[in-house]
C-alpha cells in the first residue's frame, strides 16, 4: 500500500487504520537510520520541503526539518514573524508564493482550526498539518501511537487515559481519532470545564477524578496546560489544577503494572506532571522525541511516493 492517493495529511479523523499501520511500520526502519552514524539515505533526493509555522514550536518544526534532511530532501523554513505575513499578506497569497518556488510538501502549523484544509484546497503542494488551532496534530498522535506500540508491542485493546485540557487540545483530538481505530479503551480526564461537549460520542469515557480515570490504564498521556488558551474562568488557579490533576509516581501505582506515561511537551513540571514522574523510566517523553523524527520521516517518505520495500532493505 502506498500513499499516492492521499494528497495531504490534515488529520487522523479521515485516515484509515490501514494507512496508520503503514506509517507506523515504515517508521521502524526510519528509526534505525536515525541511530546510524551516517544518518542519510538518498530516498527523497531532489524533493523540497518547506515548513511554515504561524505558531511557536521547538520540537515539531525541528523534527520535520531533520526528518527531511535525513532523507536527503531540501528543507527550508519560512520565518513567519520576519515575513510578509507581518505586512498583512493573506494566507492564500503567502502559500501561493511558496508554491511557486517549487517545494513538494508544505508542513504548516496555524492557530486557526481548518487552516491547512483551506490551504490544501488552494495549492498543488502536499500539505501536512503540524497542528491547527484546537483541531488536530496528526503527526503528534502518530508518534504517540508509535511510542506506545514500541513499548507495548501492540495498540489493540489498550486502556489509554488522556489527562488535562481536552477542550483546547489538538493532540487529544488526534489521539482519540487515531487510537479509536485500534479498539483502544479511551478515557479523558480533566476538569469538567475543559472537556468538550458530546465527547462521549467519539467513543471516550470522561472522568473528572484523576484517580478513578487512571485505574488500570496501560497508557497515560499527560497534556500540557496551555496557559495561553485559558482566558475566562475555566479553572480557578494553577495551584488547584496541580492539586487535582498533577500526575505523580503515586498515580502510576493505580494504573496497570507496566503502564507508561507520555507527554507531548513542552512539560510544565510540577503542574501537570511531577518531576519525579517525568524522569522515571516509565515516562517515554524522550523516546517520543526520537520517534517523532522517525514517524515524520515515514510520512514524508510515503507522501512523496516512496514504496515501503525500498527503505526496509
Amino acid at each position: 500500500m502506498r500513499f499516492d492517493r492521499r494528497k495531504d495529511l490534515l488529520g487522523l479523523r479521515d485516515v484509515t487504520r490501514e494507512e496508520i499501520e503503514v506509517i507506523l511500520e515504515t517508521a521502524v526502519p526510519m528509526k534505525d537510520i536515525i541511530r546510524r552514524d551516517m544518518k542519510k539515505v538518498p530516498a527523497l533526493r531532489g524533493k523540497g520541503i518547506i515548513t511554515v509555522f504561524y505558531e511557536n514550536s521547538t520540537r515539531t518544526r525541528t523534527s520535520f526539518e531533520l526528518a527531511g534532511k535525513y532523507l536527503s530532501a531540501d528543507t527550508s523554513n519560512l520565518g513567519v514573524s520576519t515575513s510578509s505575513v507581518q505586512k498583512g499578506e493573506s494566507l492564500k497569497d503567502t502559500i501561493k508564493t511558496i508554491e511557486m518556488m517549487g517545494p513538494d510538501v508544505l508542513v504548516m502549523r496555524h492557530p486557526s482550526s481548518g487552516a491547512p484544509h483551506y490551504v490544501a484546497r488552494n495549492t498543488g503542494m502536499r500539505v501536512i498539518n503540524a497542528g491547527d488551532g484546537i483541531n488536530e496534530h496528526p503527526t503528534q498522535a502518530l508518534l504517540d501511537m508509535y511510542s506506545i506500540r514500541e513499548r507495548k508491542g501492540t495498540l489493540e485493546g489498550l486502556k489509554v487515559a488522556i489527562v488535562g485540557d481536552i477542550l483546547h487540545s489538538r493532540v487529544a483530538r488526534s489521539n482519540i481519532f487515531g487510537l479509536s481505530k485500534f479498539g483502544c479503551e479511551l478515557r479523558v480526564i480533566g476538569p469538567s470545564t475543559l472537556i468538550p461537549p458530546d465527547v462521549e460520542k467519539l467513543g471516550v469515557k470522561t472522568y473528572g477524578n484523576l484517580e478513578s480515570g487512571l485505574k488500570g490504564a496501560d497508557v497515560i498521556n499527560v497534556l500540557r496546560i496551555q496557559r495561553e488558551r485559558q482566558h475566562g474562568a475555566l479553572f480557578p488557579s494553577i495551584d488547584e489544577y496541580r492539586e487535582l490533576y498533577m500526575v505523580t509516581p503515586e498515580h502510576l501505582a493505580l494504573a496497570a503494572d507496566d503502564a507508561i506515561v507520555l507527554h507531548p511537551g513542552p512539560m510544565n513540571r510540577g503542574i501537570e506532571i511531577s518531576t519525579e514522574l517525568a524522569e522515571s523510566p516509565r515516562c517515554v517523553v524522550n523516546e517520543q522525541v526520537s520517534n517523532g523524527v522517525a514517524v515524520r520521516m515515514a510520512v514524508l517518505y510515503l507522501m512523496l511516493g516512496g514504496g515501503r520495500d525500498e527503505i526496509a532493505g
Binding site: 486557526s112 481548518g114 487552516a115 488551532g133 483541531n135 461537549p197 458530546d198 467519539l202
Partner: protein, 429 residues
C-alpha cells in the same frame, strides 16, 4: 399601461384566496382579480399557467451594506438581487457606515432605493448610536425619515437597562424592536454551533443558550414595557419554547427564521468552508427539525433572509478570520420550495403567508396582499423549474453561499414591482 397575469394559481393568504384566476394591473395598481377577467385587448398578457401567483415577497431582514461597505453590496445591486430573488420589498439593517442612526442616513437609503427603482427599500434604524449599545438613537427622527423599526442587528444590546428603554421608546412611536439575541459572554470566540460537531471538527462552539438567554431577557422586557419585540433569526429549539410561551401569555412578540437555519445543519461545517460561517450558527439536527415544525405549526411569523453579502476577501481565508454571513436573497425562495414545500414539510400557502402577509403584519406595512387599488407588487413562482445555484450569476456582489452548486426545484419566475416587470426567470427584465 396595462398588464394581465392570466391563468395562474393565485395564492393570497391575506385575503384567503387560493384559486386559478387572472389579475389585471392598470397604472401600477391592481385593478381586478377574478376568473376569466373581461379585458379590452390592449393589455400585455402574461401566461401564468402552471405558475403560482403571489403578493410581492417581503424580506424584513437584509444587509445592503450601503452606505459604507459598497464593496460588499450596495442598494442598487442589493435591489437587483432582491428582484431576481422574488422580493418586492426589502428592509435594510442599519449596520452600515455611518450607521443608520439619524434621519439623513435613513433618507439616503430610502431615496437611493427609490432611485434604483427595482423594489421598495425600507430602512431600519439603529437602536443605539453607532450600535454601541449605550445611548439610544434618535428614534423619532428615524421614524420620521421612514424607518419601520429599530435594530442593532449583528450585535445584541447587552445592557438590559438600555434595551428596556429602547422598547419603551419604540413603543411610544408604535414601532417594533428587531432584536439580535446573543449573549456575547457565552458566544465569545465561537465559530460554529456548540455540540458534537464542534468537538469533531475542533472549532470553538457557540451554545444554543447564548441565543436563548437573551431571548428570554428580551421577552421579559417586552412584557414589562408592553412593546413589540421582534426576534430576529431564531435558530434554536429552546428559543421557540420561550417565544411560544411569551406569545400565549399575551406579550407582543413576533419572530422570523432564515432559509439556511431551516435547511442546513452544523454537520456541513466539516470542510471548513467559510460560506457555512454565519451568526447565529447553523445548528444541530434537533434544532433544525424543531424550527421546521414550528414553521408548519404557525409559531413563526415570517421567513427572512438575513442576506449578508461579503466581498471575496472576507470569506476566502481561514475559518476563524472569515466574516459571518450568507448571501441569501437570491436563493431563499428556491431553498424553501425545494427543501420544505416539495418535500411536504410546508404547505405552499403557508410559505406564501410567511413571505407576504406574515412579514407585512410584523412591521404593520400596507403591503403583502393582492387587494384591488393596492400597488401591484407580485411574485410569480414556477414550482417546477430546476436550476443549480450558481453564485457567479448572482446579481448580488456577495457570492458567499453554502448552497453553491445545489440543484433546487422551484424558483421565482417573475417579479412585478409597482406594475413593472423587474425580473424574469432568474434575470433582470
Amino acid at each position: 399601461m396595462k398588464l394581465l397575469v392570466k391563468g395562474g394559481r393565485v395564492i393570497d393568504p391575506g385575503n384567503n384566496v387560493d384559486e386559478v384566476c387572472d389579475i389585471l394591473i392598470i397604472n401600477s395598481k391592481i385593478s381586478a382579480i377574478g376568473r376569466d377577467l373581461r379585458v379590452d385587448g390592449d393589455e400585455d398578457v402574461i401566461d401564468a399557467k402552471g405558475k403560482i401567483v403571489c403578493p410581492g415577497f417581503i424580506d424584513i431582514h437584509a444587509h445592503f451594506r450601503d452606505p459604507g461597505y459598497e464593496h460588499k453590496e450596495d442598494i442598487i445591486t442589493g435591489s437587483r438581487a432582491a428582484a431576481v430573488g422574488g422580493f418586492t420589498t426589502v428592509c435594510c439593517m442599519p449596520n452600515t457606515d455611518p450607521v443608520i442612526h439619524n434621519g439623513p442616513v435613513a433618507s439616503y437609503v430610502k431615496r437611493k432605493g427609490e432611485a434604483a427603482g427595482f423594489i421598495n427599500v425600507l430602512p431600519i434604524g439603529s437602536i443605539t448610536k453607532n450600535l454601541e449599545g449605550e445611548e439610544l438613537s434618535e428614534m423619532a427622527e428615524l421614524a420620521q425619515a421612514g424607518c419601520i423599526g429599530f435594530s442593532d442587528d449583528g450585535k445584541p444590546v447587552m445592557r438590559s437597562d438600555v434595551m428596556r428603554h429602547a422598547l419603551e421608546y419604540a413603543h411610544m412611536l408604535n414601532l417594533p424592536i428587531l432584536s439580535h439575541c446573543e449573549d456575547l459572554n457565552l458566544s465569545r470566540d465561537g465559530l460554529m454551533h456548540e455540540g458534537y460537531y464542534s468537538t469533531l471538527y475542533g472549532l470553538q462552539g457557540i451554545p444554543a443558550e447564548a441565543e436563548e438567554i437573551m431571548i428570554a431577557r428580551d421577552v421579559e422586557l417586552a412584557a414589562l414595557t408592553g412593546a413589540h419585540l421582534h426576534v430576529c433569526h431564531v435558530s434554536t429549539k429552546g428559543a421557540l419554547h420561550i417565544i411560544e410561551e411569551a406569545k400565549s401569555s399575551g406579550a407582543h412578540v413576533t419572530c422570523e427564521v432564515t432559509p439556511h437555519h431551516l435547511t442546513l445543519t452544523d454537520e456541513v461545517v466539516g470542510t471548513y468552508d467559510t460560506d457555512t460561517k454565519v451568526n447565529p450558527p447553523l445548528r444541530s439536527e434537533n434544532h433544525v427539525k424543531a424550527l421546521v415544525r414550528a414553521l408548519s405549526e404557525g409559531l413563526i411569523d415570517c421567513i427572512a433572509t438575513d442576506h449578508a453579502p461579503h466581498n471575496v476577501e472576507s470569506k476566502d481565508c481561514e475559518y476563524a478570520k472569515a466574516s459571518f454571513g450568507i448571501s441569501g436573497i437570491e436563493t431563499a425562495v428556491a431553498v424553501i420550495m425545494d427543501r420544505l414545500v416539495h418535500t411536504g414539510l410546508l404547505d405552499i400557502t403557508e410559505m406564501v403567508r410567511l413571505f407576504t402577509v406574515g412579514p407585512s403584519r410584523v412591521l404593520s406595512l400596507d403591503l403583502g396582499t393582492l387587494t384591488p387599488e393596492r400597488k401591484a407588487d407580485i411574485t410569480i413562482i414556477d414550482p417546477d423549474t430546476i436550476r443549480r445555484v450558481d453564485p457567479t450569476a448572482f446579481q448580488s456582489k456577495g457570492k458567499n453561499t453554502p448552497f453553491n452548486g445545489m440543484e433546487l426545484r422551484g424558483w421565482p419566475w417573475m417579479t412585478i414591482s409597482g406594475g413593472e416587470i423587474v425580473a424574469r426567470e432568474g434575470r433582470l427584465a
